[in-house]
Every structure is written in structure tokens, then in C-alpha cells.
């Protein structure tokens, strides 16, 4: 059964259409990477799934339930958590407060403040610091921890490596392996194709708001993805 099912979803920013009638199914425990050039609609799609941006048309089903009209806070309680692009931490709150505020409003489960500090040891010494004063890597770890403590069934990660030093990216992905390894369903938007292919089970490539390539990482070549990424190939679908 699909955890997430998108049917002809349209997302618009005013008159500008960011996502065009997109269909997508994501299964339980899958890790799916959405790749595409800037402006492909990846972030708009994730934000629409999380409820941060309303879908103009189409249906978003989560665990069989139509959540298209639910506000973001109710989708979170249903089990969808987004780590937004740019982290979007509450800069005036400490690391601990950022995590606790999400824990309080999220769902009960294995993830809590202590589990996050264990998964991201770099945060332990920073827990009482204001989130606005952290380094990029520490902020990203806090943002991921903040999403995890809501104990989501579906974790959406938007460009978690953006703006980070390579060492920090490696740290973040090392910690994410634990999340992915625990059987969680994860959708990540990633610019780094190699990292996306190394992390995900399946790749979805978007171009100008449309899904142009979809397939298991093991069945797609870098050339196929690069070609779709830059719009050099007509819409094609690999095995999934």
C-alpha cells in the first residue's frame, strides 16, 4: 500500500505554475530522491505535501486519507514532517527549545530530544545555544532532529546539503542513515545526483514542474538521469 499518493497535483505561486498535474506513488519504507534543476518544482511539491503550500488542484493521499485540504499542523499530526529548505529554524529559540516545541506538538514514538542528541552528537554541547547562532551543519542537524521528534511516518527532506561544507554534509547523511535504516519512509530533494543515488531506492526526476523520469536507482544510469535532469530526453519511465 502507498504511504503517499499524488493524483494530478497542481501547485501554483500566483499565476506561475510550479507543478503540473503530477502523479506519484511512494510505498511504505521507501526512500525516494527527487532530483531536478532549479525551478523544477521539487520544493513546491514537498511543501504542498507538507501543507505549507496549498495544492491548487489534484489529490494528496497520505496512508489512504485525502489530506489535500488539511493545514500543515494537522498533516504533521497525521504523520508528515518536512525539513524545509534553508532549515527555517526558530532563531530566537535554543536548539533544545526548537526540538521540544516540535516534540510537544508531534506524535509519540521512539524519537525524542535524547534520541536526537544521540543521533546528532554535535548538538549535545549546543543544546542551550540560540539556533540562530549555530553553524550551517548544526542548524541542519537541529532541523532534522526537529522533524524526527514528531515521529513521522513520512519524512520529507528538502535540500539538506544546500550551503553546507562537504564535511558537514557527510555528517548529516551519516546520521540520516540511521533514520533511513530504521524503515522510515523518506522523500528527499537533492541536487547532488551521486549522493541521491547512493541514498535512495528510487529516483524521481522533475523538469519544469513535470515528472520526466522515474525508476529504481539500480535500474537507472547516471547518463539517463542527467539527460532527464537537463531536459535532453523525452519523458521516459524506468522500472519501478
Amino acid at each position: 500500500m502507498s504511504v503517499l499518493s499524488l493524483e494530478r497535483v497542481v501547485v501554483q505561486h500566483g499565476l506561475l505554475r510550479a507543478v503540473w498535474q503530477l502523479d506519484l506513488e511512494i510505498g511504505q519504507g521507501e526512500t525516494v530522491a527527487i532530483v531536478g534543476a532549479n525551478g523544477a518544482g521539487k520544493t513546491s511539491l514537498l511543501r504542498a505535501v507538507a501543507g505549507a503550500l496549498p495544492a491548487s488542484a489534484g489529490i494528496i493521499r497520505f496512508q489512504g486519507q485525502d489530506v489535500s485540504r488539511l493545514p500543515a499542523h494537522r498533516r504533521l499530526r497525521a504523520g508528515i514532517a518536512l525539513v524545509p529548505e534553508g532549515r527555517r529554524l526558530f532563531g530566537d529559540l535554543t536548539v533544545e527549545e526548537n526540538i521540544l516545541v516540535a516534540q510537544r506538538h508531534g506524535r509519540k514514538g521512539p524519537w525524542n530530544l535524547e534520541a536526537v542528541l544521540e543521533a546528532f552528537p554535535l548538538l549535545r554541547d549546543r543544546r542551550r545555544q540560540r539556533a540562530g547562532n549555530l553553524s550551517g551543519g548544526e542548524q541542519q542537524a537541529t532541523a532534522i532532529g526537529r522533524a524526527l521528534v514528531t515521529n513521522p511516518d513520512l519524512l520529507l527532506l528538502d535540500e539538506v546539503s544546500l550551503g553546507l561544507a562537504p564535511v558537514a554534509v557527510a555528517d548529516v547523511y551519516r546520521s540520516l542513515e540511521r533514520v533511513i535504516g530504521s524503515g522510515s519512509t523518506v522523500v528527499l530533494v537533492e541536487q547532488d545526483l551521486e549522493r541521491a543515488m547512493g541514498t535512495a531506492d528510487r529516483i524521481v526526476c522533475m523538469l519544469e514542474g513535470r515528472l520526466v523520469l522515474e525508476g529504481a536507482c539500480s535500474e537507472l544510469t547516471s547518463e539517463q538521469i542527467t539527460s532527464a535532469y537537463f531536459g535532453l530526453a523525452a519523458s521516459e519511465r524506468g522500472g519501478s
Binding site: G51, H73, L76, R77, P84, F90, L93, V101, A102, G106
Partner: protein, 289 residues
């Protein structure tokens, strides 16, 4: 010794200003809304207490048990029915909406109660004094108002910093869109913030009405003092609000000591000096130091 007395009386008066200002500061800090009806909402509570006193002979302190929950409900409804819809029309819309509300409330009060001045009877507190020496004595009511103001501001600060609701309020104030992504219903948080703010305005209105005479046109004047206290102390800072209220109160009483005609003027001058040289307010300057 007369000047020392003026400073002490100013500190106590500052408590009332801080009480009026804390709701204004809270609404601005959480929602970035300046509620121009804040003074009138306080005054509305004072008239409600006067009506309860006239109709049922209730002391204003007992009347507050009815009026404060009512004020909270008004604040909630104000956020849901007026501020939230007006926010969608842009940042200026809530300012205009609350300005309109201020006019509606003052005209409604004028229609119902006429323009006659009146005051609330605080009973034995009105004449109770604490004598420090032959020349300085502190009024019981002033002391109570100051104590309530400090307790309220400390309580609000503790609520914001130590409770999960306070964290949610600060998170929503920081970034309402992202607050939704961590499960916070920002509109509900805003409605609670408005409920608390209008309740504090009602409390301040009640104490103002016990301390001096009031009429339907008194609201905007209290709004100006509250606004000045917030600016002097530092916009959005509760500690700053207390400090700002005290500075304004002391400026007015020291000005009055020099010449009673200068009382209000000196307060306004201090406010203007602060605007000209320390726009962030006293608290913001201290925080940077």
C-alpha cells in the same frame, strides 16, 4: 525629600503604564500587530465594572472575576473575527481595523454612559497608605497596582520562557509558516495571545479607573502612554515594558514636581528623546552592551 517622593510615586505610576503596555507589547511581539483599540478595550472593562457596581453593588475586585474572562473572550473573538481576516489584506489592515474598533468602542461608551466622568471605588485601599517617614508615604492602591504589574510581567515572562505554550508562542512569533510545520496551530496561538493581551488591558483599565476619574474619551490617552512605555523600554520586550513604564511614570511625576503643568509634557519629551537617540529602547541597548 520631595524629589525622592516624586521618583517613588513615579515608579508606582509606572506600574500602571507597564500594566497597560504589556498587552500591547505581547500582541506586537507575537503577531506584529499594534492594537490601536488597546486603551479603549481597557476602558470598556472599566465601564463594565462600573455597571456591575451600579447594578449589583459588586466591588471592582469581585467584578474582575467576571470581567477578566469576558475580556479574554473578547480578545479571542477579536483575533478570530477582526485581526485574522484583516491580516490577509496586508500589514496595514489590522492597524486600520483596530483604529476603527477604537472609534466604535469610544462612541458606543459615549452613547451608553454619556461624557460624564466617573471613577471606581476601591474601598479601603483608596485611603490606605504605607508611611515611610514624615514626608514620604506610599498609597496602598498604587503599591497594589505596581505589585500586580510586576507579578504579571514576571508571570508572562516565565510563561514565555518555561512553558510549552510559551515556546509555541515564541515559535509562532518567529516564523508562523514554519510553526505549522512543527504542529503548531499559529492562529490558535495568536487567538490566545490576543485573549491574554485584552485581559491585561482590562486589568489595567480597572486599576486606572480606581486610581483616577475616567470618561469614554480616556482610552486613546492610555494607549499613548502604553505605546510610549513600550517604545521607551524596547518594542516586544516584556522586561523593557516594565522599565519603559517606570521611566515614563518617573518622568511625569518629576516633571510635575518641577511644575504640575509639565507632568505630561516631560513624559512625551523623554519618549521623543528615546525615539531620536535610542530607537531600540532601553532594554535593547542594555541587551547589546
Amino acid at each position: 525629600m520631595e524629589w525622592v517622593n516624586a521618583v517613588i510615586q513615579g515608579i508606582l505610576l509606572g506600574g500602571l503604564y507597564a500594566l497597560f503596555a504589556c498587552g500591547l507589547s505581547l500582541m506586537f511581539g507575537v503577531m506584529r500587530i499594534i492594537n490601536l483599540a488597546h486603551g479603549d478595550l481597557g476602558l470598556l472593562a472599566a465601564f463594565m465594572l462600573a455597571s456591575l457596581s451600579d447594578a449589583a453593588g459588586l466591588s471592582p475586585f469581585v467584578g474582575l472575576l467576571v470581567v477578566l474572562p469576558g475580556a479574554a473572550a473578547v480578545g479571542w473573538a477579536l483575533q478570530r473575527g477582526v485581526l485574522m481576516p484583516s491580516l490577509r489584506a496586508g500589514e496595514l489592515a489590522p492597524l486600520i481595523a483596530t483604529f476603527g474598533l477604537s472609534i466604535v468602542i469610544s462612541n458606543m461608551l459615549l452613547e451608553i454612559y454619556s461624557s460624564n466622568s466617573r471613577s471606581l471605588d476601591s474601598g479601603a485601599l483608596e485611603t490606605a497608605t504605607l508611611k515611610l517617614n514624615d514626608q514620604i508615604s506610599i498609597g496602598g492602591l498604587g503599591l497594589l497596582i505596581f505589585g500586580v504589574a510586576v507579578a504579571l510581567l514576571v508571570g508572562l515572562q516565565l510563561m514565555l520562557s518555561r512553558t510549552s505554550f510559551g515556546r509555541a508562542m515564541r515559535a509562532a512569533a518567529n516564523d508562523a509558516d514554519t510553526a505549522g510545520l512543527v504542529g503548531i496551530n499559529a492562529n490558535a496561538v495568536y487567538a490566545w495571545a490576543a485573549a491574554i493581551a485584552v485581559s491585561t488591558a482590562a486589568l489595567a483599565g480597572a486599576f486606572f479607573a480606581m486610581r483616577s476619574s475616567f470618561d469614554p474619551s480616556s482610552g486613546p490617552v492610555q494607549l499613548i502612554f502604553a505605546f510610549e512605555a513600550v517604545i521607551i523600554g524596547g518594542l516586544g520586550s516584556l522586561w523593557g515594558t516594565l522599565v519603559g513604564g517606570i521611566v515614563l511614570g518617573v518622568a511625569q511625576t518629576v516633571g510635575a514636581q518641577a511644575d504640575p503643568a509639565y507632568s505630561i509634557l516631560v513624559g512625551h519629551v523623554v519618549f521623543l528623546v528615546m525615539l531620536a537617540f535610542r530607537q531600540g529602547g532601553i532594554f535593547a541597548v542594555e541587551a547589546r552592551a
